[in-house]
Symmetry: C2
DNA sequence: TGTACATCAGTGAACGCGCGTTCACTGATGTAC
DNA sequence: TGTACATCAGTGAACGCGCGTTCACTGATGTAC
């Protein structure tokens, strides 16, 4: 009977000086839609407004335009992403095992937040606005943490000597490839996902490992 | 002066019985736009019609709807993709080297055809129409060829024993990850791309290699 | 304690746009007689 | 050899849609006097 009922509760107007409350509600709703649909194009200003229980122009009270809104959400996710990875990597004092933990956390983040993951790592370069230089910075931060971890492996003699940037890029390619395939090709007959994740990480780390006997402090596998 | 001039030559109407000619021109134009923009959403029926020098309804003389058109183009690319990889892999009789060649060809295809690559391997599952079961078949064919190649490595004792599906999925993840990052993050300060491709492939293959001494016919690296 | 007023959160209606798709049509081409 | 006609390739105009964004506005809230 009721025409065009908003999907959320009616939402009462904020009190004087409390206008910022709406901003958070908008961010939350956008994030929710982004996770649900996994596609920036599917998240419209109108859909967000409807989800919050407000009219479209209200969005512009808090965000200059659509991309500012989208990237505000992504920024939050990027921060969380880096934080999760650092936290996971801190779970071991062995740098190689840290990489393993970091890799697992990476893939898990992607699987659990396919919407933001798509935008952060799979969207077209042109879709990223100019002012989003933060992206570069954040990415660098997140990537820099990986490089540090790799450097620690090299310093410990656990990895064969090599260019840490090259090694880091390779690891990134590996986990990103797995993550994005799992997100995109859900119908593919994947073997056990957790097993696959660990297998891919093991192959990569094994491929980077120092030759036996050459390492200064290498853990090596058995005497022979 | 002329209003709304079509971007292509005026194109003269086909003769009786030659209507199919337009079909090919449409496919070509779609492919061209897809490669240029790299985004399915950016390729509109109207843009294709304009590129061909024809009005939008003409498209429907040859394709039931937009997705049929898009996937007709992708199907062509998928065939070419598999063909290129098989051709590349045939460049060596050593199965491990075949994998290397296959991997290089994979990444090169992605870099050279980012539009089709995005649609084939990076688009949302929901964006793929139901009738596109071919996709699964083709994908299986292409993937099956990889599995065969991996099995040959196992049979030759060049790889440590393992599940060929798991190994194949890992290799796919590696090359896909590299390809999609190179496509998506063009602004990232990548090290030398060709070097990076080879490095990633080497790391993966090294990680899969049989332990020295365990292999029956392994090539091994030097005596010690 | 009461009232005028500035402020602020949010609305309602509309804009112009490009999209996929439909439908009745046109006019050149070939064929039957 | 000439003409009526069916066929076929393509057109022109319009449909309804959802989109981002703008603009003049409303009405509740707090504050100054």
């Amino acid at each position: 009977m009721s025409a065009a009922a908003p999907s959320a509760r009616p939402r009462s107007r904020a009190r004087r000086g409390q206008g910022e409350l709406l901003r958070d509600e908008i961010l939350e709703a956008t994030e929710r839609l982004l996770v649900e649909t996994g596609d920036e194009a599917a998240v419209s200003i109108r859909a967000v407004a409807d989800a919050v229980g407000v009219t479209p122009p209200s969005i512009y009270l808090h965000f200059a335009d659509k991309s500012e809104l989208i990237f505000a959400v992504c920024e939050k996710h990027f921060e969380e992403f880096d934080r999760l990875l650092q936290e996971a990597a801190g779970g071991s004092s062995d740098p190689v095992e840290s990489l393993m933990l970091r890799g697992r956390a990476y893939v898990r983040f992607g699987i659990e937040h396919p919407g933001p993951y798509r935008i952060l790592f799979m969207s077209k370069p042109a879709a990223i606005p100019d002012w989003w230089t933060t992206e570069r910075l954040m990415e660098s931060a997140s990537f820099a943490h990986l490089v540090e971890n790799v450097q620690a492996c090299l310093d410990a003699g656990a990895f064969a000597p090599g260019n840490p940037l090259m090694i880091s890029a390779s690891l990134w390619a590996g986990v990103h490839g797995l993550t994005s395939l799992l997100i995109t090709k859900q119908a593919f007959p994947w073997p056990d996902v957790d097993g696959l994740i660990d297998y891919v990480l093991h192959v990569l780390l094994r491929g980077l490992r120092a030759e036996e006997g050459t390492a200064s402090t290498g853990e090596g596998s058995a005497a022979r």
